[in-house]
Point group: C3
Chain length 337, copies 3
């Protein structure tokens, strides 16, 4: 990357304050700003870094009042973080060179349907009767089973395993070593204490614009489909059990697990290491704080829930506060006695 | 699949009520029943779906009293869920076509011992001195180390890594990207604050009829063996540390972790996201509720345990209830004062 | 292995008590000691096993007073566990035969920089502009992206995925199917409820002597680097989010997750299934007990912290004890009323 501060200001519709002819060659966090880099200040908490940073340019809010002189050239915009993100995206688009073609060491079964400008990396494997859309990248060591459909503009990172019958929409990103479509955990107990496996004959359906983290697991349905709706974002090591449905634009942080047949509404925000019981439903726009355990359906949309068993987080925090006051309470009681 | 309702009734020894000549071409959950499909009703909670379903046939209990007319043909059996599962299994057996042979892009080291009708998928790797039994399927991208023994009728899904010296029985299923036999987490602290790795010279032994979930990890023993007994079922992302022993027919749900040298009895049921401390033992038939933390040995068999630190779940639920009553308690105390 | 007890005593500078001419052919835990094996007794809790073991030799403390006669030959040393570990290490060094060379089925892109005595396993893949140091082993099915640097004496186990731009020092061990450098979980919410991905343009830097468990995930930084300092030990299924820094010699047990931009000090000990919030910092030498949830920065070094939200563990255990006394407290209050 090599742009002047003025050119960058034009890209993000900002006003330059200082020397706009300087060259920018990289990005830095404001506290790590180096000569030649551009940074941003969004959270007022970090304002003190602005007066010390070595960054050549800093994107700041249009209405920021400077408390001290700054060395950097400023670009003033309405929303510094959004402007910076746009800049990162433009940079990524300019520098990313998509490879195309099927590498010689990949193995693609006969009779599969491939789109234009497909990329299949070295040592990848695509089994029979699958179809892959246009501009999709299948990286090395990916395993794609039989009867799998993958849409356009998808990126499947190395080592991902996609079992038979999975259906994936457009613009889906799956990070390395995630597993899509393994058997649900269904074992029928027998009289002698052993288990008989319940055949898992359904599949996984992933709609458009979904992103799935590294080493995440999404199990196929017993019957029907485990459903990941449009725009869902799953972090690393998330577990989605059989017959679960995750509503559109719901984001789930790392190491959270959703048990079988549970339905999560749209636009929920679920923290990390949360556990959600099976066969329940969570209303849209629910926020669940990290490490919570949800044992019952949540029916009112838009609540923040926390704790174990999860309740409205206001109650949960109140209870936590009271628990911290228990030592004084016990003392008081002893005095009263 | 194409059978008449009468043919299906014969398979599961049921009595037909309605038109038995109709054709069935698939399975559905009762609430999603479509024309041509067969479903079942087991849990009385879902009985209302019976009167609305579009399913051509529904398997119901022999003694079910109908509260309204139904459109579907009924097949009455003693245990509808069991009958339905049998049907799914028969279907799976009829439709599953096992592949055999070693694919050309697989790499199998010389001198390994292979059974009859083995399948080794594309780009799989089997190292020296290993032996694989009859009718076992090793899918694509599987890595099998040196001196590994795998029994008959096993299915090892894509991307599974099996380290040197692992011993696996018959009818074992390991889902994608699980890792068997990595080094236990053993690091001896040194005076200067660094660690020295303690060599992990043992192995993992997995007995017959075990099933292991996607991205699960089972570490090799420091000395001796980490032992997964006959019939154990492990869900996705479960972690089994070095020198652990899991008793026969114990089932462990997703994201649970068992610390080093702990022994779990047989026929236990362990929920998801449970943590179990190291060097303890859990009595047979213990049930542990999801997200619990077990810090001490559990000596009496057959208890249900919950909470952190886990206690008998009756006490745990009582404590939870009292915690929910803390706000009133604090108010009461203030009044008394 | 075939040594006499006398020879082994010389290796670990111990004093023989009993017949030193006997031959040792393996290692066993004391409770599983067999003829021909050597074991050790370190924890006094297990002393009773000493009087029953069939082990040919047992390493014991120099000052141990025998309460009964023993069959085994004893080797007396200052620290039995340390001596035993040294023995295991010597054994491992003697028996481990490193393979070298690039296997024919591996695919290594042109123009990469490889050290001497490199090993690249079957079906591994190394992309362009990467460099690998001397004596490093890249096992089968490993995926190494572009511009990756790996130092000397590293072991990268099967199925590991290392994304573009990762930098790895010397003596680093990464266990199977771990993922290094996937995109951080950064999604900017849009007005219509959807998300826009924030480009993750940074990388992961792993310093010398680090060990990473199977199926662990370490995300690349948004800008700059996610940093794993010298001597860090991460267990299986650990999640390290973008822009995290883990201080030197910190050890983290299985299934723990560290949220974005958090800085962990050096020489910390973090238990399993711990969750640590984002954008906080943890002082050096902090100990965090298993399943805790850390929501705020910990500023005083050397504390043991526990619970959710984590506090000093003395307070946490006190609170737990009081919670267990709630039933009596409620009764007392009712009587007072």
């Amino acid at each position: 990357m090599k742009f002047t501060v003025d050119q960058i200001a034009t890209m993000i519709q900002g006003a330059v304050e200082g020397d706009g002819t300087q060259h920018i060659t990289g990005f830095d966090k404001i506290e790590e700003g180096k000569s030649g880099s551009i940074s941003f200040l969004s959270n007022p908490k970090y304002e003190s870094y602005l007066y010390d940073t070595e960054a050549t340019a800093v994107i700041v809010a249009a209405d920021l009042d400077l408390k001290s002189p700054v060395k950097s050239t400023l670009i003033r915009v309405k929303e510094p973080y959004v402007a910076f993100t746009i800049l990162l995206q433009k940079y990524q688009e300019m520098t990313a060179k998509r490879e195309t073609g099927i590498q010689v060491t990949a193995h693609v079964a006969g009779g599969i349907n491939v789109g234009k400008d497909l990329f299949v990396g070295h040592l990848a494997f695509i089994d029979a009767n699958s179809s892959i859309g246009n501009y999709t990248s299948i990286y090395n060591h990916v395993s794609i089973g039989k009867n799998v459909q993958i849409g356009d503009n998808c990126i499947i990172y190395p080592g991902v395993v996609i079992y038979n019958d999975t259906v994936i929409g457009n613009n889906v990103i799956i990070h390395a070593n995630a597993v899509i479509g393994a058997d649900g955990f269904g074992h029928a107990p027998q009289a002698d204490g052993t288990y008989k496996a319940i055949p898992q004959l359904g599949n996984v359906v992933i709609e458009d614009d979904v992103s799935i983290g590294a080493n995440a697991t999404i199990d196929r349905a017993t019957m029907g489909s485990t459903l990941i709706r449009k725009g869902v974002k799953l972090d690393n090591l998330v577990q989605i059990a059989h017959n679960v449905e995750i509503g559109a634009n719901t984001a789930i942080a790392a190491q959270t697990g959703i048990s079988g047949s549970t339905k999560i509404g749209e636009n929920c925000l679920i923290g990390g290491q949360v556990g959600i019981a099976g066969h329940i439903s969570i209303a849209p726009k629910t926020i669940i704080t990290g490490q919570s355990g949800v044992t019952k359906s949540i029916k009112t949309p838009g609540q923040t829930m926390g704790g174990f068993p999860a309740t409205n987080n206001v109650d949960n925090l109140k209870r936590s506060a009271l628990i911290r006051q228990l030592p004084e309470l016990f003392e008081k009681i002893n005095k009263i006695k």
